[in-house]
């Protein structure tokens, strides 16, 4: 089967699954799956850039997605003037002090050598750390003391929602630059562990730095690019149109909003997909694949492997950041505790491997397919378990346990699918070429 036929077939399967969900479980659920599926497809596209194009093993996807989420808070929420007045300047000064310390440390590291370097660095870092804390702590406490139940943070910039998505990408790209600068020279599995750690640290920051993201108190009520359902239901023009479609206003408004998100996300996805396709087929894309397939040979041909790796690591992470910002916009809230590595890092990897690493269409369709499965495995598992439990004697403890555990079928299924694909179709459903 040619690749084009595979892509069309897989796209048809995904379409049938989503439309089928619409008929069986209602269009609301179908559109919910579609929207998150589109976001997942963008994440998969980002990981595919890194792994499929360049062979970089990034298991810190969760961190970049969360940074995107942070961006949508920082861009769209209104600023809290009292908090800025109380400690804004102090927080900014402390952050600048921290950055200056690190810059000075790097400069010292380059200029000095031997024992002098070690002692100078140690002294600088200790002094910098103490100074940073002296400036930062009072400012932070002042910010967090302002109306902690409602705000207790600095707020955002109050800019339009759609601006948050590219900013999410920029934030993730910035983090990727720092990580890449330190960790990209390492071997592949060291890079994996390093990115795994970075992602955990980013989540810890979001959970603990209340002045920045309200921590586990969450930020809710993020502005959205589309009208609220409630407002639509009171808009006479919309009610008239809903009547014209022959749907009741509540259903019409929810579907209208979800469709709106779907269109927005699809536009972003298509844009990124076109860019990724152009990149893949450009001389740059060929160079990337050459580096992936044989680093030594590419280096001998004069390619700067480390720089190219850094470049694509930043690009891929930025794409994940964009997806993260979109997801937070869709949810309407940032809940740092909800970022789990299995869901936001390893599931995206399953999407890429199953879809076909190295093939953008494969990654995108894999993202949609695996997301559909991730959502649907739970009801299917529950139905299966009820079937088994029905065969057991009434009130048996095992039957109860099976029903309770059906929710955990997800992870098991994803593992089995990943292993089956790796074993019998290691290049994924849509191979690279």
């Amino acid at each position: 089967m040619s690749n084009l036929a595979r892509i069309l077939l897989l796209a048809a399967v995904v379409a049938v699954l989503i439309v089928g969900t619409g008929y069986v479980q209602g269009w609301n659920s179908a559109l919910l799956i579609l929207n998150m599926g589109l976001v997942s497809a963008i994440m998969a596209l980002g990981v595919n850039l890194q792994w499929g194009f360049a062979g970089l093993f990034n298991v810190g996807v969760m961190g970049f997605v969360a940074l995107g989420g942070l961006a949508s808070v920082l861009v769209t929420m209104d600023p809290v003037p009292e908090a800025w007045a109380a400690g804004g300047a102090g927080v900014l000064a402390a952050l600048a002090l921290g950055a200056a310390t690190i810059a000075a440390a790097i400069w010292l590291h380059r200029r000095l050598s031997g024992a002098a370097r070690v002692w100078a660095l140690l002294a600088l870092l200790v002094v910098g750390f103490i100074a940073y804390r002296a400036v930062f702590y009072p400012a932070r406490d002042a910010v967090e003391a302002i109306n902690p139940a409602a705000t207790g943070y600095l707020g955002g910039l109050g800019l339009p929602v759609l601006l948050a998505w590219p900013v999410g990408g920029l934030l993730a790209a910035g983090a990727a630059w720092i990580i890449g600068k330190t960790a990209l020279g390492l071997r592949s599995d060291y890079l994996a562990i390093a990115t795994l750690g970075i992602a955990e640290i980013i989540i810890a920051v979001l959970k603990n730095e209340d002045w920045l993201s309200r921590g586990v108190k969450n930020v809710s009520g993020l502005p959205r690019p589309l009208p609220y359902e409630i407002d639509l239901q009171q808009d006479p023009a919309f009610l008239e149109r809903a009547a014209g479609w022959g749907v009741d206003p509540v259903t019409a408004s929810t579907i209208y909003v979800k469709l709106g998100y779907g269109v927005l996300f699809a536009v972003v996805l298509v844009l990124l997909l076109v860019l990724a396709q152009l990149a893949l087929n450009s001389p740059w894309g060929r160079m990337m694949r050459a580096i992936r397939d044989n680093e030594t040979a590419a280096e001998a041909m004069g390619k700067d492997v480390t720089r190219r790796h850094l470049q694509i690591f930043i690009l891929g992470s930025a794409v994940c950041g964009i997806a993260g910002a979109m997801m937070t916009t869709l949810d309407g809230q940032l809940t740092p505790a909800s970022y789990q590595p299995l869901r936001f890092t390893f599931l995206v990897w399953v999407m890429v491997i199953v879809g076909g690493s190295g093939n953008n269409f494969g990654a995108v369709l894999g993202g949609m397919l695996i997301w559909w499965l991730w959502v649907q495995v739970e009801p299917i598992g529950l139905a299966l378990m009820s079937g088994i439990a029905a065969l057991m004697p009434e009130g048996s403890a095992l039957a109860g346990h099976l029903l309770d555990s059906a929710a955990h079928m997800r992870l098991l299924t994803m593992g089995v699918i990943l292993l089956l694909v790796l074993r019998f179709s290691p290049r994924g459903l849509v191979p690279e070429r």
Binding site: L186, I193, R410, L418, L419
Partner: protein, 336 residues
Amino acid sequence: MDALNALVALTNFVIIPATAYGAQLALGALGVTLIYGILRFSNFAHGDTMAAGTTATILFTWALQAAGVSLGPLPTALLALPLGIAVAGLLLLGTDRVVYRFYRARKAAPVILVIVSMGVMFIYNGLVRFVIGVDDQNFADGTRFLISARDFRDMTGLEEGLALKSTQVITIVTAVVVVALLFWFLNRTRTGKSMRAFSDNEDLALLSGINPEKVVTVTWLIVAALATVAGTLYGLDKSFKPFTYFQLLLPIFASAIVGGLGSPLGAIAGGFLIAFAEVTVTYPLKKILGYLMPESLEPDGLVQLLSTDYKFAVSFVILIVVLLFRPTGLFRGQSV
């Protein structure tokens, strides 16, 4: 007196907990390092292997407790441990036959095996949640304290108390025994020597007639034992929660890499280094400094360098620093 108080506080809050945690990390890191040395890949499923072995141990512990069997002052889990190890061994050998052997036969690239281990991680994680759920499970019984803080205060007349939990002592003793057995096995027995030979140079080992399948089987069994012991000790000392075990992956890998992947001695050193760094940096040192410094200089804050939620950052920073300045780890591990 103040110096003694400071010493007791330091021992109570930093040295004892860090030693126990370090022993648990070291056992975990030994498993990672053995898999890396013999099978040549980073096993992402290791945290969940620990969780699976511990789950089996917990189930047997409950069965024993229900049957009225107990070890008196010692936790019943120690009696269930061999059964848990057996279950973990069967699980790992089964996984090897069904999953890993295929890729070994094809000499797949290490990074493919890492991705495969991600799939295994999902499956183990699902299995553990399926069997025992996601909640905290408490299975410790027996005496709780060898020395309680109050007894110590009464005994010595110091202001500071020193509590020694029995699980901490059991952790350290068990870890010493297990590590001694492991090193005896690796250095003195024929199978152990063939394992080391296989790890040093696979081709030469094959030429001299070492059976690779036997080496691999023995490795998985040892890993099962190490992972189950590490997981059970951690669960006894703190508590068992599947997600915590998944998160242990990071400090465990950091320990193994810092020590030098493939080097058992390095894994132990790395485990203690990471544990001591984590506990020292996240513990509020005010109490200890308060005894040592004159009153005028006493610190105002808690002198907690980082909040406990940032403990991952500690293992991570150590990892990055070691990798940047000594890429093969402190004990010169392998590098593929």
